[in-house]
Symmetry: C3
Subunit: 274 residues, 3 copies
């Protein structure tokens, strides 16, 4: 019999006692729970960043894992807290859209509940820390085998967040930087498949990226390169360097793929796999 | 049979190999130990910060957990290393007071031992890393079932650290910032219950906080607000912002609650629950 | 029966989804794997730093643990990925030398395989994330009991990385800073045993360190001191302070031990234990 696995993703940072308090609450309810940190370094209250993070991380997990996500700018308001079943995963998450990118590649629609049963919450519930007082204890009880139907009521509507879509125009495809990783690599919303559309130039701000590679180390150290990211998107990087600093670029910086006239291929950006 | 749980709280940071070495030492003694990180981002040698952290985190855990705490400015001196039993928790901790805030809400006094049995230590014991050479191996042996009486001798005296208490004065209550969290929220030593004492104004430095809310998102983004923190204290925050940066405030910044004349209520700051 | 233990050491940082994706991949193959973070804060692509980290951390672990190390500036090139058995430990690691400092104190030579069996890899293998697509799944299968001989072919050559050795000269011993820890302590490549070689002065840059102590707290706060580090090396520190900032020193800063004329002892730097 396998002890249940509960992952934690928050924007709490690791210096604050908030993550530790959530761990204690879960273990007080189910001492057998295996806890796994995904990240506590999500930028504060950044729902879009969380969406990218979860889309890259959650689908790698085996079915049955419970994922607790606390990036919650609306804590204490009427925003709901949700239990989501999608692709065999179970998420406990504020209703702010940070999980809805997962719907895109799921074979079946999500099953969503709105948490509604205070008997599974820690009392008194503070107005500012629902991670500790609602999500953590509910995760603990779910891991003990409490049925989802016990903890909430079906929801048919929820907040959707969507990554900005690339737009086709006369020159090609206009997009933007979606994510900057620890190395300063810039991951865009342009699908990597767009690279195969004939002769191409890639631009970020006023800079043209002239070098297309398959991996960072193909180019000499310090070279600005474009490649397909490990998530399948167009990525801009500097071998042994930091493209974000070099280009002074960040989330939202415009990027553009230009095709050779006259025949721009018709891409389906909806198929892009983040 | 549940594998024993050992938590780790240090000021080592995560780039240094010190935490990893402690994990290896514990697992070499008890390969069944379940290790759980609470934080390795305690500011270097900051006993007061650790006291706040432990007071918020430790009471959420179930009984029987072993907590190893290594914030140890006195390493290599004659300061003792302690085994503390309090509220069903077990702590291995340097004798610098970082744990003594836990006494305040405990129903019974702590049972304290001074570690004294080098046969449970890693040899040779370095002069600068008692976390690896004493606390980690002792935690490993305790998790195997070694009795506390085997590892140390009863102590009746220990270093006490106390959070600065708020002071009553003619205008109201004078306190200070105790803790700044990852979001820049300022948690003070003024008890949240003080908010209920009649008409009130709250001041930090020369700034008056005019807006009292129950949760961050009640106010418009960017508003400076006061609320009761998830630890039950008066907290100063900026919705979607960073109060510490906005006010240039930090641990120790004075705060004051002013009551309407003439009848200041008599608060018992000793009851404040950190 | 003990669930297998897999540790993770990367330079991915904790804000990126890369570590979480590796955890998901491992658990999808072996849901019983116990995952343990050693560090994800290795400075990007810093092989020398990793070598120091692993030499301090890995030997503390019990036999049979699988250590996955992803500090991989050569990802996507022809550099090999290795399975190394050394001192009872098992490492999965890029062939960049970051592990070879472990050979120095091992009683027997390492057994090294080059990973060669794509049937144990995640398909398709991206060109930029072999941690997720090769090392993580191979770790998962090894933890299920797949024999090393199934996953790779014996290798007799590999990249070696060696910490810079101290050099003897007419005045004494010239070395450099190897590592700067979270506290700003400077750990050098001079063996701590060199301290016992008669009257000595220690120099870093133009500064002479006059105070030799056994532990930080022996000196008054703010004092610049030299001591033997917990790894057995000469270390320069400031009690309650940060020596790296105080001296504006970092990895590679020259240090020198001077002996009293005329008889400089003949040290064997090869015996230095990092």
């Amino acid at each position: 019999m396998l002890d249940p696995l509960i992952t934690l993703t928050t924007d709490f940072g690791e210096a604050s006692p908030y993550v530790a308090a959530m761990k204690g609450v879960i273990l007080s309810i189910n001492p057998r729970a295996r806890l796994l940190d995904l990240s506590h370094q999500i930028p504060p209250q950044d729902v879009g960043y969380t969406a990218f993070f979860l889309a890259a991380a959650i689908p790698t997990f085996p079915p049955g894992v419970i994922h607790v996500i606390v990036v919650d700018p609306g804590v204490g308001t009427e925003r709901a807290l949700l239990h989501v079943e999608i692709q065999g995963q179970r998420l406990l998450v504020p209703d702010n859209g940070c999980w809805t990118e997962l719907i895109r590649n799921a074979p079946t629609p999500p099953r969503v509940l709105r948490l509604s049963q205070p008997r599974y919450w820690r009392q008194p519930v503070s107005a500012t820390f629902h991670g500790r007082d609602i999500l953590a204890p509910v995760a603990g009880y779910l891991s003990l085998g409490v049925a989802p139907s016990e903890i909430g009521i079906p929801a048919t509507d929820w907040v959707r967040w969507q990554a900005p879509c690339p737009r086709e125009n006369a020159q090609g495809l206009a997009g933007e930087v979606l994510f900057v990783d620890t190395f300063g690599n810039l991951i865009t919303n342009l699908p990597g498949t767009a690279f195969s559309g004939g002769a191409i130039s890639l631009h970020i701000g006023t800079q043209e990226i002239n070098r297309r590679v398959n991996s960072y180390a193909e180019a000499e150290p310090g070279t600005l390169v474009a490649l397909v990211s490990s998530q399948g998107m167009v990525e801009i990087a500097v071998n042994h360097g930091n493209a974000a600093r070099r280009l002074n670029a960040g989330v939202g910086t415009p990027v553009a793929l230009r095709y050779q006239a006259p025949s721009a291929p018709h891409l389906d950006p909806g198929r892009a796999q983040v």
